[in-house]
Amino acid sequence: MVSEGAVVDHDFEDTGNPIHRVRKTAMWAFLGSEAFFFGAMISTFLLYRNTIGDGPGAEIFNIPFTSASSFVLLMSSLTMVLADNSFQKGDQRQGRVWLIGTALLGTTFLAGQIFEFTEFVHEGLTISTSPFGSSFYMLTGFHGLHVAVGVLLLSMLVFFSLRGRYSPDGGMNVELVALYWHFVDIVWIVIFTVVYLLQI
């Protein structure tokens, strides 16, 4: 509807399909909100980073392992760009390959996170060990949830594209999912730095 019914700002009239501008504006607003969501959790973590009670603290982090899984997630941003690019050029076949690649990299990251969580629990860090544990699991857990939602969205894109129901103006859109995916990656870079690397 928006493309026909709505009138878009004068200045933007000839910058391609207006519906993309409408949606991107909304997506940016949403991501702004998400930034504050993670910001509040990161603040909570910083407040409790040394409140470890009798349980383990930051020393149980396995930096090489998490660096590797962070690298996997970063690479998924690259494949996401390639997917977006292919779709923009109208090459959905190639685009689907990149989408599946992105989803697989995301899944690998999630598997790594599950493995890591299991290890930590064995070493005695649970959500109820200390405020440190609570805030660590909440922050990284919600981030993992965002990755999982991203994987779901990527799979839906592949599904719609396979059934021939993908259109850039339809409900699902590669460009928007790409924005979301990059955002989730950037948040991870912040989390990895603040939670794992900064040892004060």
Partner: protein, 632 residues
């Protein structure tokens, strides 16, 4: 040239319950918000009467302590989340697209989803009375009280209910931002937007940036209560103050979310009723934006007795005094607008003037709270209750009432009765002051808030009785309002397109507007564009009515109207109705119910599973559904 007064004869498919359930029309959604908000206003008002009846005299026996705690908590939650926020959303939904010359909001289905999610969540919050009891830890839900009430699911309802209402509001805000930034009519630059639209922008930004913060707090509360996390557990060195910070980083911007749309409405009404342009349009806009920014930097003024230390307290005290400046700027702009105008003392105007004067009183008591030593005396006393009711009832509610009288003609095509309206206004104003003015004195005399009874002989009896009498007078005012609505709806005076000699675009179209709002998209050349189509300025700078335009007819500048200047109404594709938003929102609320009962095992998991299925059905169907189905 098409004229927007064309008769509205909706086809059979456009009527009936199903058409409302599946509607994605911003005007219908606006009306549903208004009706729902009004119903909850009656419920919240009933709770208020219970509270005042209990407190009418010493040692009241109407409510037990346990019941009292639930009633005042639900009163606060209802009035904030289920009355004022949705009534603001009602006006915004209906009038923002009309005022910017758009045919709908950017995301009509998300709009429907946001409404249903709000409505179901608010209902869901009320089911708590049936299952284990309503939230009883105050609307601020302070830890560790809120985490320790573990025998009940009450504060789980609080956590999940507020979370869901927040998500609904978030969806609505994102929609408004996208709509206002990308869908304005040609020529409607940002600085030509009506002030109400501007205030919607500021409110939406406040919401998208503050809701996630309380969202985190509400999750932490839920986790502490059900999964053994230690965020607020002092015995494990968790810090209950964290909750207060997260709550008020949301909470203070939230009070501006409640008041700014009302300020926008008043800024629309005053110029129309004073027959003058708004005095200092740019100042009003920028002070609104400044309030938005500063609003994020004053939250700890709610925590002056929490022991933050003198530096933080001085800083936040100063910041709080600062925020009174842009607020004062607005007040002077409003006064300047009426100054020297030929005032029409209509009901919307009376409510607007009531708004300004009551808001000034509330703002002044607010400034007294910013003085830290004074506030340590006032904090958690009835003085605070007096303050926030002057800004929230005297301010926000009177402002929305003004909006209701001003825009009812556009909604229904009928005028509300002016005579009954004036009765409504004066009864409400007197009742309101009788209720809340004495609470200043009660507070300064040491009566604490949130106590279910008090002893005789403390010097509080008379003031409390006065306050209770006032509250019943307010209730009479509400009844008068209901009578006015019913009477005027049935046989009110026909309104025509432009009953107030308005200045903004909503008055150019018919009352009620056609589904697609405007037959031809307007082209805007000025702030208050419609006024300039009706009036010219003579050599002495006086306004003269332009003879060729009869008030109210839609006139489109055909020179610049563009290629679609002669669009036929049949060529306008409006989004098709959809039932997926209501299904998706129901699914999300069922998920929420699952979270509330998660500690009860099977019930909780069953609800979670059901909620997951229903919401997946809703969202998947939604994603696969084309926006406009081929109708022809």
């Amino acid at each position: 040239m098409a004229v927007a007064t064309r008769e509205q004869a909706p086809a059979a498919a456009d009527r009936g319950v199903w058409s409302w359930i599946t509607t994605v029309d911003h005007k219908r959604i606006g009306i549903m918000y208004a009706v729902a908000a009004f119903i909850f206003f009656l419920v919240g008002g009933f709770e208020a009467l219970l509270i005042r009846t209990q407190l009418a005299g010493p040692n009241g026996t109407v409510l037990s302590a346990e019941a009292y705690n639930q009633i005042f908590t639900m009163h606060g939650l209802t009035m904030v989340f289920a009355v004022i926020m949705p009534i603001a959303a009602a006006f915004q939904n209906y009038f923002v697209p009309l005022q910017i010359g758009a045919r709908d909001v950017a995301f009509p289905r998300i709009n429907a989803f946001a409404f249903w999610l709000f409505f179901f969540s608010a209902l869901f919050l009320y089911t708590s009375f049936l299952f284990g009891g309503a939230p009883d830890g105050a609307w601020v839900g302070y830890a560790p009280l809120s985490t320790q009430l573990t025998e009940y699911v009450r504060m789980d309802y609080y956590s999940v209910g507020a979370q869901l209402l927040g998500v609904a509001s978030l969806a609505g805000s994102i929609n408004f931002i996208a709509t206002i930034f990308t869908m304005r009519a040609p020529g409607m630059s940002l600085m030509r937007m009506p002030v109400f639209v501007w205030m919607t922008v500021v409110t939406s930004f406040l919401l998208i940036l503050s809701l996630p913060v309380i969202g985190v707090g509400l999750w932490q509360l839920l986790f502490d209560r059900n999964f053994g996390t230690l965020f607020y557990a002092a015995q494990a060195q968790g810090d209950p103050l964290l909750w207060q910070h997260l709550f008020w980083i949301f909470g203070h911007p939230e009070v501006y979310v409640l008041i700014l749309p009302a300020m926008g409405i008043v800024s629309e009404i005053l110029p129309v009723m004073s027959r003058k342009p708004l005095f200092g349009y740019a100042f009003v806009v920028f002070s609104g934006i400044a309030i938005g920014f500063l609003g994020f930097g004053v939250w700890a003024h709610h925590m002056f007795t929490a022991g933050l230390g003198p530096v933080a307290e001085a800083g936040f005290g100063l910041a709080t005094m600062l925020i009174a400046i842009p607020t004062g700027v607005k007040i002077f702009n409003w006064i300047g607008t009426t100054w020297g105008g030929r005032l029409k003392l209509t009901t919307p105007m009376l409510f607007s003037l009531g708004f300004i004067s009551m808001f000034v009183i509330g703002g002044l008591s607010g400034v007294t709270h910013s003085i830290v030593p004074a506030d340590t005396q006032q904090h958690d006393s009835y003085y605070i209750v007096a303050h926030f009711h002057y800004v929230l009832f005297g301010g926000a509610v009177l402002g929305y009432m003004a909006g209701a009288y001003y825009w009812f003609p556009k909604w229904t095509g009928k005028m509300l009765s002016e005579t009954i309206g004036k009765w409504h206004f004066w009864i409400t104003l007197i009742g309101f002051n009788l209720t809340f003015a004495p609470q200043h004195i009660l507070g300064l005399d040491g009566m604490p808030r949130r106590t279910y009874r008090y002893d005789a002989g403390l010097g509080w009896d008379g003031w409390n009785l006065m306050s209770t009498i006032g509250s019943y007078l307010i209730a009479v005012g509400v009844l008068v309002f209901i009578w006015n609505i019913i009477r005027s709806w049935r046989n009110g005076e026909p309104a025509g397109n432009d009953p107030w000699d308005g200045r903004t675009l909503e008055w150019t179209t018919s009352s009620p507007p056609p589904v697609h709002n405007f037959d031809e998209v307007p082209v805007v050349h000025h702030v208050d564009d419609f006024w300039y189509r009706k009036y010219g300025i003579d050599e002495d700078g006086r306004a003269v009515k332009m003879p060729e335009v009869s008030g109210g007819a839609l006139t489109v500048d055909t020179d610049t109207g563009g290629e679609d200047g002669d669009a036929d109404a049949h060529d306008i594709h409006m989004p098709s109705p959809s039932y997926f938003p209501i299904i998706a929102s129901a699914g999300v609320v069922i998920l929420g119910a699952g979270l509330v009962f998660i500690s009860s095992g099977a019930i909780g998991f069953g609800l979670l599973a059901l909620g997951a299925i229903v919401s997946l059905w809703g969202f998947m169907g939604w994603a696969g559904e084309p926006i406009t189905k081929e109708a022809h």
